[in-house]
């Protein structure tokens, strides 16, 4: 027998009430934990995918669309830009590194990205099997995609025109899987990668191509197009020069990933705030419920409390007993909520992976969760304060004389 076992015995004695309080608290905590996990991972993924990319150059249109389509491969591109202009940008003294992207095709919903090996190097990609592409129609597959589509080295598949699931299939030129990437936690995990010449070849099918590997020399200059250029600045001063140069002197547009992702997060942030508010309401109604439960329990237990006093309990101990019950409810509810939050996140993350969006996992821990647990415990203790004070002030002789 000690305070903990007495508290537990009382919680067990009114198990339905206890369950209600725990569930309420757990749901609130779970929602907050889910938000923490999801936003932290989203934020981390978005940062990692955009890391080292100072500027994205694409066709005129929405700058956010340019960023979403070329860094995160989520939205459709704004259009294409001419090869010649891309080369000029690459030669600009403010540019340290330029990675071209040619988009437009997909395989069962996964995007096919025509680019250079620099794109792989940028994300530090390592091969899990096979090698990087050398020839036109060689394809390297991201880790998640390879797993989901069950693609292996040497497999052949046909790309479809467009980024949806229903585009016209390019029957004449099958891709060959020559490499599979290691999981990197970046956007590469869910892409099909190949040389940009491959993408050109796919869209130049009306030509009579003799040697497909020599495609670059057989196309007119106007037919050679990129979708976007990922640019790393040579120096900080470039930020002041290059975007203005591009926006003023070309019919392309420059979009800043840092600025656009910040804008995106401020839009998502409203939804996050609403959910967080909802979660806090849940937590505080749990607190209220704990308060009411303990307060009512005081009435049922006034004789128990008085008897405990006759058995030698100090008022302080009765107060601790009530506080302990609040604390115990909060700890159980909080812990259950944290577990639930992780499970929610994992289930949602699983669904998102199926839809091959940005992946989220429930099997990580963010340090802010300690604060959520502290919040739950704080609510439990505060809810128990008034009942505990009343227990402290139990009038033994008066109570016993009445009963």
């Amino acid at each position: 027998m000690n305070l903990a076992t007495i508290s537990l015995a009382y919680l067990k004695a009114r198990s339905l009430n206890t369950l209600l309080n725990i569930v309420l608290l757990a749901l609130g905590v779970a929602t907050i934990v889910f938000l923490l996990l999801a936003t932290a991972q989203l934020d981390q993924r978005m940062r990692r995918d955009a890391q080292g990319i100072d500027l994205v150059v694409g066709a005129k249109g929405s700058p956010m669309q340019v960023i979403l389509s070329s860094i995160y491969h989520l939205d459709v591109p704004t259009g294409n830009i001419p090869y010649k202009q891309a080369l000029e940008i690459a030669k600009h003294r403010a540019v340290k590194k330029m990675i071209p992207l040619a988009l437009g095709d997909s395989y069962k919903g996964a995007r096919i990205v025509g680019t250079t090996h620099a794109y792989l190097d940028h994300y530090g990609a390592k091969m899990a099997a096979g090698k990087r592409w050398e020839n036109v129609l060689d394809a390297v597959i991201g880790a998640d995609l390879a797993k989901r589509m069950n693609l292996k080295l040497g497999d052949k598949f046909h790309g479809a025109h467009g980024l949806g699931e229903t585009g016209e299939v390019h029957e004449e030129h099958p891709y060959t899987v020559v490499g599979i990437l290691e999981h990197s936690g970046t956007v590469l995990d869910r892409l099909v990668l190949c040389s940009y010449e491959t993408v050109w070849a796919m869209h130049a099918s009306h030509h009579d191509i003799k040697d497909i590997n020599d495609i670059a020399n057989q196309l007119n200059e106007e037919e050679k197009e990129f979708t976007a250029l990922l640019i790393q600045y040579a120096s900080p001063i470039a930020a002041a020069i290059l975007p203005r140069y591009i926006n003023n002197n070309t019919d392309m547009q420059a979009a800043s990933p840092a600025y656009e992702t910040a804008r995106l997060f401020s839009i998502i942030g409203v939804g996050v705030d609403v959910l967080r508010g909802f979660a806090l309401v849940l937590v505080f109604s749990a607190g209220l419920s704990v308060f009411i439960a303990l307060y009512n329990a005081l009435n049922e237990r006034r004789y128990d409390l008085a008897v405990m006093r006759t058995l030698g309990t100090r008022p302080r101990t009765l107060m601790l007993l009530l506080l302990f019950e609040g604390l115990l409810l909060a700890l159980i509810g909080g812990a259950l909520g944290i577990v639930l939050g992780h499970v929610f996140t994992e289930v949602l993350g699983h669904a998102l992976r199926m839809a091959q969006q940005v992946s989220v996992t429930g099997w990580t821990w963010v340090s802010a969760e300690w604060w959520v647990l502290a919040l739950a415990v704080g609510v439990g203790v505060i809810a128990a304060l008034i009942p505990a004070w009343r227990a402290y002030r139990t009038d033994i002789a008066g109570t016993l004389a009445r009963g």
Binding site: M1, I6, A9, A13, A306, M308, T313, I396, G403
Partner: protein
């Protein structure tokens, strides 16, 4: 052993208790008699250290209760005074054995399951150790209440109207039980009662109504 001297208690300006003097030797067995409303329960609470009288001196087992701080009094009560309340008030969320362990724990004693089983056995309750109070008959519950009062081997055992609502046979059983248990732990026994049936059994009697102002 206990001694009361010039004990008065007033409630809302009205005197509800007045005891000029009452002394008992250690191990003595007393009845506290008086009609309903004569202040028996109040006096019992004063003896138990639950209620501090408005004035007067109360000492139990040589200890002046008035000299103890609130928390020292709580501790003293837990350790040296056992009370059998009229309505028993067992803790229903806990099993019988846990009710007794609780009494040891709250009195600041070490929890001695051997002592608890010994007391339960002496009250013929060994097979009820894991029962919950609401599963017991009144007689069994009353014996548990006695067990709880004596488990810490008190110096003073108090019982409030233990035989009211009992038939003659049971009345004597309960009385025997209190007398035996008090003797077993060497406690001074005070039974507050208005039950005429038990008068013949306990020679030491303190009449309350007569002492009232």
């Amino acid at each position: 052993m206990f001694a009361l001297r010039d004990v008065h208690h007033a409630y809302d300006g009205k005197t509800v208790l007045s005891v000029p003097q009452w002394q008992a030797e250690q191990g003595a067995q007393w009845l506290m008699l008086g009609p309903s409303g004569s202040g028996k329960t109040t006096l019992l609470h004063v003896l138990a250290g639950i209620l501090r009288p408005s004035s007067g001196q109360v000492s139990v087992a040589g200890q002046d209760l008035g000299a103890l701080s609130a928390s020292a009094l709580d501790h003293f009560r837990g350790k040296h005074i056992g009370i059998v309340l009229q309505r028993l008030h067992l803790i229903d969320s806990l099993s019988v054995i846990k009710n007794l362990l609780l009494a040891q724990y709250l009195a600041g004693q070490s929890q001695d399951a051997g002592r608890v089983r010994e007391v339960l056995a002496s009250l013929d309750l060994a097979d009820k150790a894991n029962a919950r109070p609401h599963e017991l008959s009144f007689g069994q519950a009353q014996r548990v209440a006695v067990a709880r009062a004596v488990v810490n081997k008190p110096k003073l055992l108090l019982a409030d109207e233990p035989t009211s609502n009992l038939d003659d046979a049971r009345c004597m059983q309960v009385l025997d039980l209190l007398l035996t248990q008090a003797k077993a732990c060497g406690a001074t026994l005070v039974i507050a009662t208005h039950d005429q049936r038990i008068k013949a059994r306990v020679p030491n009697q303190f009449e309350l109504g007569a002492a009232r102002v």
